[in-house]
Symmetry: C2
């Protein structure tokens, strides 16, 4: 059951973007969409970041190559149900073949198509099913198909994840709509699970790249479910320019709205994390360096003992303390650490707070949204991440994933 | 259910070592022993390593202080059921008080007593129960009480863990007996959960320190259950010298027997890991550096996705590949990696091996003892660790630990 996450409400079309989604046969059930196409109008600027996992999947390799050759691609071809990862040379060929099939039908060059895949690793991509579905996919292209597309990229997600914003820039209206998928193998690093965000504003390529990098840093790169970085992560930001609105580096309102969409998408992945019963924010403050702040936050977020205590609503804060104590942070002095659950102080300068009692901890831990605040007392650097708990359902989902 | 682990068979007494174990009331059930005493004959050499967790527990602080003041302690006082960690100044006082109570009764100096605790973190140690139990504890001292002592230090362990060896050195017989506890919050680093190993041989202090360091490096520091390093880890090696056998640095047979006991104790912790259904060896070879080899081995061992696949006997080796790919190793080239499950080759120079089929993987993964072999093809450094799978029972045990 997702935590505080509902199905998307109204998703606004983005001028210059059309989408389609259908069932091509990659997934078994004919009820489930598994192939998505995004068509971009000419002269759309696009910026993308990909997984840092060294075993990156074939579609990631091909998408990177195509972007080097062609900075303004026209099509994003996305399948779910099969990651086309760990598939060697034939996997690479399959990714290229699916791009070529679409390019031929649409009358564009091969490198105008970017491939994306998500699903089971190390299984051959049924590329002929993709080829067969292309005519129908193109015929269905529609600017109002964001919800269908958000459904089509899902794997173990229980809900589609998509958000829209409309804002005024210099008196004109412009729209941002984005979608994402992912609920396990989540610890994006310089990238994310699959996420596609489009705006009809015009942003120069350099600014688009800058905004993408900054937005990812404060959204998809601040979430973790299980510490496992996927082989297929990708995040794409597209600006069609069709609204006639030109966004500059000073457009703080646009930047804020864009960052909001990124952060909501990232948080929605955690809210729908595999087996999640809690949505947990871990805020580390007063660290000496960003490295230290991140080390402490991730040590707590990845501790199976902390995660099972969160699942059990057990204020066993000794486990949080033990995780902080083993974090690979350079400047850490236990006698300066303050620890809070919500507004309840647990540790004060490294010692149990005199006002704390178990009932207060239990009340905080019983909430579905939990805030763990760790003040290191070493400097003025802050870092915040979002994570989930570790439940029976995480085990069930991942033990039964291929059966 | 422990994997391939039985209750200890004959445990041999070690001349110069007496033990006692009883129920003092720290744990609720009167059936369960929670207090253990080890008495060492005068002139016993002792070497110890402790947790590297910065939130180390009060007994660890006190034991370190006593060892600095007095290199030949006479008593080890160990309680289970309460870790006396995260307990601040009063925790420190309680550890000192329990040592003093024993020292007064036994007629030794306070610093001749080393305290050890294991159990729930952040609860006050009921030191008066320990004080009350001391006369009975001393009256029960017996050289044949190793099994009772191994039971007395258990927490979530399902079986006591202890091993003995007798060997000939220069034609004379000498004995090594050791016990350990631990099954969760296990990722020792330069130390271990609680482990106590004694021999009646004579080893000079420098050699004893060297052997302990080396033995720990290839045993307790090569295991992980959940990546969580305890606040209370300690490993103590004691040499009474009462057998009259003097062990030198060249006594390879003694060294081998000692290392065997360490490795069997360490592996028995993994075999009895919380919720374990599999015993898994991860062997990384041909790495350029020890750091790289360890980074790869631990990335695989700590991946919740690999651990749930192990639990499910699912040869989803894409998850192993993804974990290797995200390891923080400097020299890693996916095109040089070979991956084996037992004797079955999965990846050959980074590509799926042509002879592999799913049935072979399933056969390997269905075993209760699984060997994952990763050849990096970068150098000649090897590293091996032992770990467990991640099951429903791990969640149950840790979600219900305090309830």
């Amino acid at each position: 059951m997702p935590v505080g996450l509902k199905a998307p409400e109204t998703l606004l079309p983005v001028e210059g973007v059309q989408l389609a989604a259908l069932h091509s046969g990659i997934k078994d059930s004919s009820q489930i969409k598994d192939l998505v196409l995004i068509e971009l109008t000419e002269s759309t600027n696009l910026s993308a970041v990909f997984t840092t996992n060294r075993f990156c999947a074939a579609p990631v390799i091909v998408a990177r190559e195509h972007l080097i050759e062609n900075s303004t691609p026209r099509y994003l071809l996305i399948n779910s149900g099969n990651a086309n990862a760990g598939t060697g040379e034939s996997g690479y060929k399959n990714a290229v073949t699916s791009c070529r099939a679409l390019a031929n039908f649409a009358g564009v060059s091969n490198n105008a198509v970017l491939p994306f895949s998500t699903g089971v690793i190390a299984a051959a991509l049924p590329v002929e099913k993709i080829e067969q579905a292309i005519p129908q996919l193109i015929s269905q292209l529609d600017s109002n198909a964001w919800l269908a597309a958000a459904e089509g990229i899902m794997t173990t997600d229980t809900l589609p994840k998509a958000f829209s914003r409309t804002i005024q820039v210099d008196g004109s209206s412009t729209t941002i709509t984005g979608m994402a998928k992912g609920s396990g193998m989540i610890r994006p690093d310089m990238a994310t699970m699959l996420a596609f965000i489009a705006t009809d504003a015009r942003l120069d390529q350099a600014l688009l790249d800058k905004f993408l990098k900054e937005a990812v840093a404060s959204s998809f790169n601040c979430i973790t479910v299980d510490g496992d970085t996927s082989t297929n992560d990708a995040c794409v930001l597209m600006a069609t320019g069709r609204s006639g609105v030109h966004v500059s580096a000073n457009s703080s309102e646009f930047k804020q709205a864009l960052f909001d969409v990124f952060q909501q998408l990232a948080q929605s992945i955690i809210r729908d994390a595999e087996g999640a019963t809690k949505f947990v924010e871990i805020a580390v403050s007063r660290a000496k360096t960003q490295t230290d702040a991140r080390a402490v936050a991730y040590a707590v977020a990845h501790s199976p003992l902390v995660k099972t205590a969160l699942f059990a609503s057990d204020p066993n804060w000794g486990r949080i303390l033990a995780a902080i104590g083993r974090a690979e942070a350079e400047d850490l002095d236990i006698n300066r650490i303050n620890l809070f659950l919500g507004d309840t102080c647990l540790l004060n300068n490294g010692l149990p707070d005199s006002s704390y009692d178990e009932a207060m901890g239990l009340a905080e831990m019983s909430k579905s949204e939990i805030n763990i605040r760790i003040e290191l007392g070493q400097g003025d650097i802050n870092f915040k991440l979002w994570t989930s708990d570790l439940s029976y359902d995480y085990i069930r989902i991942n033990a039964e994933y291929r059966s």
